[in-house]
Every structure is written in structure tokens, then in C-alpha cells.
């Protein structure tokens, strides 16, 4: 009967028997303001939170880092914890768009656009912390190697913080380009459906006058592949370099060679958790259940299980290394982490959220449960935040000299800045949902599996609704289906 056979065992990647036109309609819908009320509500809340964050940052810049709880022993606390957390979250987007593209994982098309957007916004939030944790943020440009009249005085190329500057700015640039490249044909689609001149001009500008010629498509495909190739090593390098901030130091608990792979696995782990959180919310708000399906969620849950276990193994390896190395400082550090009276609770939150709880995803039932997945994604986000807190604060608060051992607790300004970045992130994400196509229209269409009979049936349904055929018996028409 059908010319194209699709295995009934494999779930379709797009559900609801969509036609190409329906896909366009469904996805462009959000950019036309059809879902305005929900959007205004959530954006207002996010913007208020973001404003509070900006206020806290302003407070810190005006009055000094002394408004934070950081102290003579714990010089980095929530600032760098948040930085590493956000950077980690920013990993899933590139992984989905680049590595999964190279591996021909077709399911990625449903979520890659939003995941890439999330990456960009997460890196924006992450970038705020290294800038505003500086005591003299007004001299932040000192960190760039630019020709100057002071000698010239160059930056210190042995400092991992400098490597961070390069790694993160490169990552941000490539991710942004990649994301935007994908958006170009979709902007053209929105432009073509726009009803006002202004809207047309706006999206025409964004789409660089895309006309969908074969040449355009051909170049677009090549560029996507090149950028995918460029981003792939970046997925590994960014968090590796972030981990060097710690790995190259002398502080017990930081000074370990396992940190790079451990950080990369952790980043993917937290990134996917954040993608899940956002997707579950977005598919509900934007009514995208047909495009972001349970199959997507299940796939991502499998990745969570894998990376969570990898991270867990890293935790256990650290303990083993401390014991096996006979390094007394290292042993003391890890004993403090796990059993110390000050922050052991943070360690166990990390352990239970990151290593223990993802193990429920061995069960298909939980992998396919929206509720369980949502709770789990939040837990992993919390767990991964604590992982960074454990590494940074616990290692610092009791290092070599017992005389300097101290406790750290944050002030409302530090908390406010963190909460504020969540607000900034959500505001940007919601703006993206409102004005940009949330799902990659062109790419989703490429994976739509349709055969002749399906198309014909669909056409007939549409025809039956038309005025001209009102007189004809509908049942009669549909018998050809």
C-alpha cells in the first residue's frame, strides 16, 4: 500500500501527523503574539528578578566586594560557583547541535534550537561573574592582551584565568554563529508569512534576504557542517579550561588531574538537565508537545544517566586517589568534604543529586514520565550547583594552615546576583520564544516521514472543508482516503 514503510516499533520523531504547512503554522504561531498573555506574565516576573540582579550587581560595584560574604580565606565563593554552573549549563546546546549533528542523531532537530539559545544565554550569565567578581571591574580590560603604553605590559599567559578569557569568548562566538546560521532560513519563513510591512522588513533583515535558492541551501548546509566541526572540540575545551582554574593550583581538592574530564562530563550532565527543565516548560507553554516528544525526553534522560554516573565515578575516584596517594593534605581535604562539621551537608547534597538520584533512569517508566523528569532535572541542577560549591568553597575554607580555616556564608547581595542571573536568563529565553522560531522549522521538516497515502488523506480532509465541495457528500469524498 504505502511506498514508504516506517517501522511501527520506532516512534515517529514528530507526532500528530503533521504536514509541512502545519509545522510552519505551529512554530510561527508563537512569534505572531498568539500566546501573548502567558508570555507577558512570565516575562514580567523574569524581568523583575533580572532587575533585582542588576541592582545587586550595581550595589557590589558601588560599595565593593566587601558586601559579599567572601573572606580572607575563601576568596571565591558564590561568584565562581555560579560562573562554573552557568558555563556547564551552556554545554548542552553545542553538544546537541554539533556533536549530535555529526553523529546524525536526527532526534536532535526538535530541541536543538532552544538548546542552542539556552547555551548563548547561559554563557551570557556566566560571563557576568568573572567580570563582576573583580575588585576593580573598571579595570577589567587589563585582562586582554592589547598593545599599551605601559612597557608594553602583557597579560600573564601562564594564568588559567587568562585561558578562560580566550576559551569562553571563543565558545560564545562560535555558539552564537552556529545558532544564528540555523535561524536564517526560519527567519525567512516567518518573513514570508508576515502580514505587515514592518514585520516583513524586520525578519527580512534578520534572514539576510534569504530566498531559499538551491545555492543558499547548499552554502547553508556546508556552513552548518563547518561550524559543527569547529564547535565539537570547543565542547571539550571550554570546561577543560575552566577546570584548569582549579587543577593547576596548589590547593588540596583543586590540584587534581581528574578535573578536566570530570568537569566536561559534569557540564554535559547539567546542560542536559537544564535543557530538560526548559523543554518541559516550553512544550507546555508553547504547545509544542508534538515536536518535543516523550522520545526526546527519554533520549535526554539516557544521557543524564550516563553523564551522572560518569560524574559519580569521578567523585569516587577522587576519594580513592586521596586515600591511595597517601598525600596527607589531600586526605584531609576529602575527609573534610565528606565528614567535616562545616560543609558535609553540601557534599551529600551533591552526591545524592548527581550520583544517586539519576540511577532511577535505568527504568523506562521513569525515563518517560514528565513529572519525574522535571523533578530530576531540577535536582540535577541543584546537585551540579553544589558540586561547584563543594569544589570551590570546601577546598578553600580548610586548606593548609589551620589558623586560617574559616566558615563562609553568603550575603543577600551574593544570593541576589545569582537569582538575578536566573532572571536575566529567563528573560532572554522568553524573548527568544516570543520573537524567534523555537524549533528549527527547516530541520524538523527534513525529518518528517510522510508517504503518499498519508499526504493524500490529509489533502482530502482539507479539500472536504472547502466551500466548493460543501454540496458533495463528505463521507463520499473521504472514501478515497
Amino acid at each position: 500500500m504505502a511506498s514508504h514503510f516506517e517501522s511501527p516499533l520506532r516512534e515517529p520523531l514528530v507526532k500528530g501527523n503533521k504536514t509541512y504547512k502545519q509545522i510552519t503554522t505551529d512554530i510561527v504561531r508563537s512569534t505572531t503574539g498568539e500566546l501573548q498573555n502567558r508570555w507577558i506574565f512570565w516575562t514580567t516576573i523574569s524581568a523583575i528578578v533580572a532587575t533585582f540582579g542588576v541592582f545587586c550587581i550595581a550595589w557590589e560595584v558601588v560599595f565593593g566586594i566587601g558586601s559579599w560574604g567572601a573572606n580572607k580565606t575563601v576568596g571565591w565563593a558564590w561568584d565562581i560557583t555560579n560562573f562554573v554552573w552557568w558555563i556547564g549549563i551552556g554545554h548542552a546546546g553545542t553538544l546537541i547541535s554539533a556533536i549530535l549533528l555529526l553523529f546524525r542523531q536526527k532526534w536532535r532537530t526538535g530541541v536543538n534550537r532552544a538548546a542552542e539559545a539556552m547555551t548563548i544565554f547561559a554563557v551570557v550569565c556566566a560571563g557576568l561573574f568573572p567580570v563582576f567578581h573583580m575588585g576593580r571591574v573598571w579595570d577589567a580590560m587589563f585582562i586582554f592582551p592589547y598593545p599599551n603604553t605601559r612597557g608594553p605590559l602583557w597579560v600573564n599567559f601562564t594564568s588559567p584565568l587568562l585561558w578562560d578569557v580566550f576559551a569562553i569568548s571563543t565558545y560564545f562566538t562560535v555558539s552564537l554563529l552556529f545558532w544564528y546560521t540555523g535561524l536564517v532560513p526560519d527567519f525567512a519563513t516567518i518573513r514570508d508569512r508576515s502580514k505587515t510591512k514592518g514585520r516583513w522588513t524586520f525578519y527580512n533583515l534578520l534572514s539576510f534576504g534569504w530566498i531559499g535558492s538551491v545555492k543558499h541551501w547548499e552554502r547553508w548546509e556546508s556552513l552548518s557542517l563547518i561550524l559543527a566541526g569547529l564547535s565539537t572540540p570547543l565542547v571539550l575545551s571550554v570546561h577543560t579550561i575552566v577546570s584548569f582554574d582549579f587543577a593547576t593550583s596548589v590547593i588540596p581538592g583543586w590540584h587534581t588531574t581528574i578535573l578536566p574530564p570530570y568537569f566536561v562530563a559534569g557540564a554535559i550532565f547539567s546542560g542536559f538537565a537544564m535543557v530538560l527543565t526548559l523543554m518541559i516548560v516550553a512544550r507546555y507553554i508553547m504547545k509544542l508537545e508534538d515536536y518535543i516528544t516523550l522520545a526526546h525526553i527519554e533520549s535526554m534522560n539516557k544521557i543524564l544517566l550516563l553523564t551522572g554516573t560518569m560524574v559519580g565515578i569521578a567523585y569516587l575516584t577522587e576519594l580513592f586517589t586521596a586515600w591511595y596517594s597517601s598525600n596527607q593534605y589531600e586526605q584531609h581535604q576529602f575527609a573534610t568534604r565528606a565528614f567535616g562539621s562545616t560543609y558535609a551537608w553540601a557534599y551529600w547534597i551533591m552526591m545524592s543529586c548527581n550520583l544517586i538520584s539519576p540511577q532511577i533512569f535505568w527504568f523506562r517508566k521513569f525515563r518517560r514520565s514528565i513529572k519525574v523528569t522535571f523533578v530530576m532535572s531540577i535536582l540535577v541542577n541543584i546537585g551540579m550547583w553544589f558540586e561547584r560549591f563543594v569544589i570551590i568553597v570546601i577546598s578553600l575554607h580548610r586548606d593548609y594552615l589551620p589558623s586560617s580555616w574559616l566558615y563562609y556564608s553568603p550575603t543577600w547581595i551574593e544570593i541576589g546576583i545569582f537569582v538575578g542571573t536566573i532572571g536575566i536568563f529567563m528573560t532572554l529565553f522568553l524573548a527568544f520564544c516570543r520573537f524567534f522560531p523555537v524549533v528549527a522549522i527547516a530541520e524538523v521538516k527534513s525529518i518528517l516521514k510522510r508517504n503518499g497515502s498519508q499526504a493524500k488523506a490529509h489533502q482530502l480532509e482539507e479539500v472536504a472543508d472547502q466551500e466548493v465541495y460543501k454540496s458533495v457528500n463528505k463521507e463520499e469524498l473521504l472514501q478515497y482516503k
Binding site: W59, F63, G64, I65, G66, S67, G69, A70, N71, K72, T73, G75, W76, P130, H133, M134, G135, R136, V137, D139, A140, F142, I143, L153, W154, V155, N156, T158, S159, P160, L161, L162, V165, D245, T248, S249, V250, I251, Q328, Y329, Q331, H332, A335, T336, A338, F339, G340, S341, T342, R398, D399, Y400, L401, P402, S403, S404, W405, L406, Y407, S409
Partner: protein
Amino acid sequence: MSNKKYWTSLDELNQTPAYFEQANQEFSLVEDATESIENKEPNRRDFLKAMGFSVSVAAVASACQIPVKNAIPYTFDLRNQMPEVVPGVAEFFATTYYGSADFNSILVKTREGRPIKVEGNPSAKFFGGTSARAQAAVLDLYDVTRLHNPVKANKKIDWKKADAEIIKKLDELKASGQKVVVVTNTILSTITKKAIEQLKTTYANVSVVAYDPISQYAIRKASGGIIPAYQFDKADVIVGFNCDFLGTWMNGTENAAKYVTKRVPTPENPTMSRHHQFQSSMSLTGASADYKYPIKPSEEKQVLINLYTKLGGSVSGAKDFSNKELNTGIDKVAKELVAAKGKSIVVSGTNDVEIQSLVNAINATLSNFGATIDTSNTLNFKQGNDEALATLASELKNGAYKGIILVGANPVYDTVYAETFKNALQKADLSISTADRVDESAQYCQYVAPNSHLLESWDVIEPRTNVYGFVQPTITALFDTRQESASILTWAGNVNVAIDSLVQAEIASVSGLSYSEALQAGFVDKTSGIGASALPGISTITTPTQPKGMELFLYEKVAIGDGKLANNPFLQEMPDPISKATWDNYILVPYSFAKENKIDSMPADKKVPVGKITVAGKSFELPIVVQFGQAQNTLAIALGYGREKSGNVGSGVGANLYPILKNNTNSVDGVTFELTGKTYNLGLNQTYHTLMEDVSLPGKPLRYRGMVVKETNLASYSKSETAGNEDREAIQKHLVTMYPTPKFPGHHWGMLVDMNACIGCGACVVACNIENNIPVVGRRQVFRSQEMHWLRIDRYYNGNPDNPDVSFQPMMCQHCDNAPCENVCPVNATNHSSEGINQMAYNRCIGTRYCANNCPFKVRRFNWLDYQGNDMFGSFNDGTPGWGGSETKDYMFDSLTRMVLNPDVVVRTRGVIEKCSFCTQRIQSSKLDAKKQNRKLQDGDVKTACQTACPTNAIVFGDMNDKNSQVAQTLDSGRNYFLFEEQHFLNHVGYQVKIRNKDEESQRSFFDKEG
């Protein structure tokens, strides 16, 4: 092809040598050009160019308003007017710092006429060390609370008018036969004493009462009116009873300097004195002792009776304690004292006549008088008479005195008779105070005749018979103040007294030297021999009474003392050497008591519980600090706090315990204690886990504690020079690296700290603060661990927490040659000098704090807020960084206080890291001096601020490349070790193994015993 040759000149054509020379010169044209400028007279065009430029520059410059900044107001030709003052070159003046229990011969460093730093006077030997109080004295000079002029009823008055009115009143009182009393504290000044005598001669109705807030009257009473001078450099066995003779008792600096001469064994002479300390709470002195015996204040007399009996003295009432350790301790002490007859000292700081006569009797039995205790060159400290004070108080109640003159005394604050004095002052016909501020007593006086600061005064100080310190002004009086001796002399009838010539005559007469020689020396010691006169024997010794309930031990803190110095922010912020707390007084509770009451002995977050004690109907709510080594069932609280009128720094800090100081004894019984359930944010400088146990494995010592503090006992040291430091050889053998070791061909600066010589007094901490313009941050910031001290003294305990051993470890930047901080700075703001100094370029620092994180010693300090110059923060004790904080407990926010800043050291801005620089400004200036004198830099030319401040010479600094330097020689000693040497930081601050004169090896940790 043509063979034509082109030529540019005849020279070229002829190929003359001149041509070749010119043609080979690359820049011949340029040279020509410069020559023409140099040689030629300016022509018309040049003139027009220059005119055009300067006119336009002048036009532009005059168009912009350039703010005028007043720097040094030397508007006249300085070299002619004051040839000795060279801008940029420091002047040193020999003078004296003194208090009722302190005496330091000092050199005051002035820059452009401003005193900015106190240094020890090296020629004064044992008197030439400094204490934290002496170091902080310069800041008192610039105290904004000081009165700017004499005051009558809170209104400004001029001296002439005030004097006339006072003299008129005095005459009236004399005529009507009314009595006038002069109330003083201890007066060490011979000038003031003479002035008071003269007042008494002029006015027969004047009598004098001297008292001390913290009294030692019992010693004088038991010793026939004298306080003998204890010579700790002559004693092999020292037994102290609640006597903080290295710190707050009296004459701490001289005692410490002498004490240490017998505390540092060398391989050639592996001996040291043995020090036993019976104490109710851990004191600075107790921390240095070899054996410590925690006793309740009420037990002291019994201990002395037992000891005296054991030494063969005839006294009744000897009774063994139920505490067996104490009994064996007394046996041991008795045995050692007998063995060291004539070479021992027994000393008590308890203000109790019977105790002091027992002490004298014991010393007499041991033939110490004339050997280790000098009865002829006696101490002049603590001249207060408790009985006279009590009599005065009862007479004042009856209204016996119509005139009260307070000379340096503040009885409304620091006596139990506060109410009596307050009423008497208000009712008196004439009441005068010479306080330099309107203090608790002066506020009730009709006249306040403000005394000048000692750095503005002329004086002769006699701390010990035949020992004189001279005081000369280092600056003209900042305000319209007059030193108290001049005031008194004026009132005694010597109008227009010239105090300077008076003092100059006195200096010449007492010193036996020429006036200028004496003034330059600043100090004469004319003592000879040791007096051995017998002191009065024991009268009756009553049986010790049983105390009721808990006992409260009242002590004095090393920094603040009796409360006079409460307005000095450096002293307020100096961590107490023992408790490491700043800015407050608190209830010290023993460890056993804390365990019983479930008080967290080590609150990680510094939120300490608040306790309430009630004694004699008075209640005090104070934070609780657990003190290891404190006697059971005994609480301890520091006096000198709770000032109400000390000024914007000290007022309202802590609670005033003087109202319960009955009979001036340092303890009371019948104290009830309860926990309030509240917590207090205490400014602790060093918090928890100073016992160095493994936090994760309770019951085990911290595994690497031996890498931090190394210690041994004398017996082991006399066997092997490397005792306690045995692992160093193995560590050094394993220091293998594939990287080249840094080389320092010129100087290579290093520092060594002798942990045996260090008594933990904190003078170096304050010296470092002042030398390096280190900001004071306030209690709130210390609570948040955002203090700025570049140099700190780490205090560690080990052994039994009820009676632990104490180690002090001064900790500053270790100047690692392989510094972890240097390679992590993204902007190269910290780097290594060619002389091995880890340096900071503040201007380059952007404040990532990465270096501070990566410092294994945590000595890098971050400027969290704008400490010096931003008045946005208001108060640093109560204000939050941000909007709010309205109180002005500020420091450095006014131009007067900023005068104390050292112009050689940059004042750091907010947001940069700073740390110990090895006093790089001193190194630089010494180098320049040597260069000017055309010689090599010698060992001892450069001395860091901490080094010169140290009364016990525990800190040595110098060039490690100079084989003859003290540093290089000690570097190879068996005692020397570097912290975490196996980590290969190549740090260059070495520590000498702590040696205790104990028979047994010190316990590694108390958990060895318990766990």
C-alpha cells in the same frame, strides 16, 4: 650599458677618506640635525615656534581650572629655615613611651614634621623593645576626640582666663580652709611630681591621692612601700602566680627582653630557664610557660602556703589539694626552687597583701633578694594606694573636699566608687580634670585643662630608681593643649612657666650627661649592682576562705590595658594574643565548663553564644569565648572595656567590669552564670580548630600538624640539634624538580622567626599596621573575616584542652621563590623581584583574588571596601557596607588621622590585593643610603618594622646570600624549618623549632590521650 659614474660631491668623486667615513655612518643626517640645534643660536623661526607653542599651551592651561591641592605648606625656603628637615628624609627623635605599667625608650620617626612611627631605641638595651601600646601611640596623637582647647562647662575658654579663675578659686578655698584633693594615677614623671609638690606648698589645703585602676598596692604594702625589680635574665627557675609579667603586669617589655635571654638554647649552650605558671586563665605569660597549673583565684594562697611549707617555711595551714596533679606540681616546683637557690624568682600579680608577703617570704627563703630580685633600684610603676582611695571615697561622701583636681585620673570610669566621685565632682566648688578629652569624669568637671600628648611634651620619666627616660616633643602641640605638669605649676603660682627649660634642666641634672647627649640618648640607666635589703617578714596568714559559687577572674588585655587606650583603633583591632578576639571583652569560660553547658567551643561562623553573669547584684551580658587552660569553675573577663566617653572608636565597646572590682583584687566569687540563648557576632581573628585535630576524624590529630608547628623538649634538643626537625633532611632529599631553580645573584632576602623567642605579644602586628598604612576595618569586618593585617600571629594549642601547651607562629608573606600566587595572576600584578621578594603592583591588580586563594599561607589581603577615604560607610562597627550606617566610628576618614600615614607606602585602593612586602620601602631606603656612602649594604642595615618592634628579637631579617649575615648563619641551624617545605614552594620565612623545657616530650595532641 653606460659606465657613467654619478657623484653627489667632490669628495665622492675623489673617494676621499672623509667621504667613506660619512657614507658608512648610518644616521649621519640625524646627527647633523642635532648638531645644528645645539650649536646654532635660535633663529627667528625657532623663536616664533617656541612662542606659538608656549602661548597656546598657556592659553589651554589657563582655560582649564586646575584644582589647588595643599600638600606640605613649606612656602618658605626650607633649607634656610630648618636645615635639619629635608623633605622626604625621615628624622628620628629619642623619647619615651610610658603608661602606669609601661616604659619603653623609643625613637619616633617623623616625616616633614609629622610623627608617623615608633621604633625601639636600640641603645636602651632591655628597655628598647616596644609593645603594641607603644607602637600604637602615634595614632593617639592624631585622635580626633582630643580636646582642641581648655573647656569650662562644655564651652571653650582660653588658658589665661581659665588659669585666673582656677587660681582665684584655689585662693578662696585656701582662705576658707576648705580641703582640695588631687587625684592621680601612677605618676612616673619627676616633673609632674615636683609640680604637685609645689602645688601642695602653695596651697597647704591640698592633699594628693594616687590610685591605679588595676592595682598592685599589695606588693608595696607587703614589701615596705617598694616594688622590687625582678630580673628575669638572672633566674633559672621562674614561678609565676597569676602574674602576666611579660604582658600587662608591669614593665612587660623589659621583663620580656630579659626573660628571653634565658629561653633560647643554642647548640653550644643547650640550657634554658624553666618557667612554671600558676594561673586562673591563660595569659600571655602563661602561654610561654613550660608548666602550667590552672588554679582558681581562691586557691592561690593555699598553693603558696603549701609551697612555702615545702620549702621549709614556718606557716600554718598547709593542706593538700584534691587535685593530685596540682600537688605533684607543687612538689616539683619546690624541688626545683631548692635546687636553683638564688637563681629563681617567685612572683605574683595578685593584689593581696598576704599572698605578696608569702611570695616575699619564699623569695627570701630562696635567697633571691640581691641575686635575682633588686630591692634598691625598685620599680616606680603602680604607685596607687588602695586604702587612700577607699578613705578618699568615704570622705568624699561626707563632702569633705570642696576642690577636686583629677590629674590623668578617670575615677568615674575605673573605680568602684564611680557614683561617689560623680556626685562629689558635681557638688565641688572647684573641679578640674587634665584629661585630653571629655571622659567619664571630665564631663562632670567645671574645667577641663587638656593635657598634651606625650609626643608633644617635655618630660623626665623615672620608671625605676636610677633609670630615666627623657621625653621630648616630636611635633608642636597640634591643638591648644598644655601638658599637665605645666598646668599644675601655673596653678601653683608659676604663671608663664617655661616647661621646656625646666625639663631641660632636669634632664641635665639627672642624666649626668650634657643636655644634648642625654636628649639624643633618650635614656640613662644608672643602676649598679643589685640591692639585697630584707623586706618585711610575714605577719599573719589567715586560712584561705572557701569561695562561694563560681569565681570571676578579672584581667587586663595586652592591647587595651586598663581602658585608657580604648580609643585607639589599632589596639582595638589587634587580636588578643590568646583569645584572638578583637574589639570586645567577653566571658572566658574553661573548656570543661563549655562541655557541661554544651557551649560550642569552636563556633565556625564566629556567632558565639551570649552569657549573662550576675555578681553582687550587677549583671553583664557578654559574648562567650572558650579558653583552653582556664581553671575549672572560673570565669574571666577583661577590664578596660565599656568606655562611655572615650571617643568615637572606643565608646560602647564591651562592658565595664570596674564596678565589681572590690578592694581592687582581681577576682570575685559568688558569680552566677546563665546562657541567654542569644548569639553575638564576635570579631575573632582566628577561629576554630586551633587544637589542630582532624576535623573529619574526631579523636585524631591533624595529620600534617607537624608540618606547621614543630616542637621538642630541651632534653631532646641537647642530644640532637635537629630534635623535632628530623624529617627535614628527608624532605630536602626528596625535593627533586625538573624545572630550573630560581637564582638570585644579588641580594636574596629572607626572614627567620624564632618560635622560642616569640612570646606572642603582638607588637609586630601593630608595627606592621602603622608602617604599611594597613587599614583598620572594624568589628563587623573582622567578624566577616575581611580584616587586613599583613602580619598575624597564629596561636595553636596542643595537649590536654584543660591545660594545653601554646605555640605562637608569626605569619606573614613567605616570599616563596616558587610562589603559587604569582603564576595565577592573569594580569601579572604580582611577580618576583630579582632579590627574591614577592611583590605587588597595586595599580595593575584587578582583584580577581585568585592569588589569595592559591596562597597556602593565606597571607594575601583583599581591599574589600574603600577603607581609607570613603565616608560612605559611616561606622565600621555597626554600619553595613552600603547605604545606612550613620554612626561615625570612623578612622582614616578625616584629614587629621590620615597624618599618621607613612608617605613611603602607597595607600591601596578598594579592590586590590595587598600583603607583606618585607618592608620593601625600608630595603630601598637602606640601599640608597649605602649607595650614597659608597659602600656595600651590610647585615643589619635593613630592618623590617616587625623586627624592630619585637621586644625579644624573635624576628631576624637579612640577605641570605651574605654568608656573614645572621639570617644566613641561622638558616643552616638544626632548628630551622620552612612550612610545607615538601610542597616546594621555596618559601623564605624560616621558623625555629619550638623547644619547651619539659621533662617529658610534649603530647602530639590531646586526642592522643582521649581518643
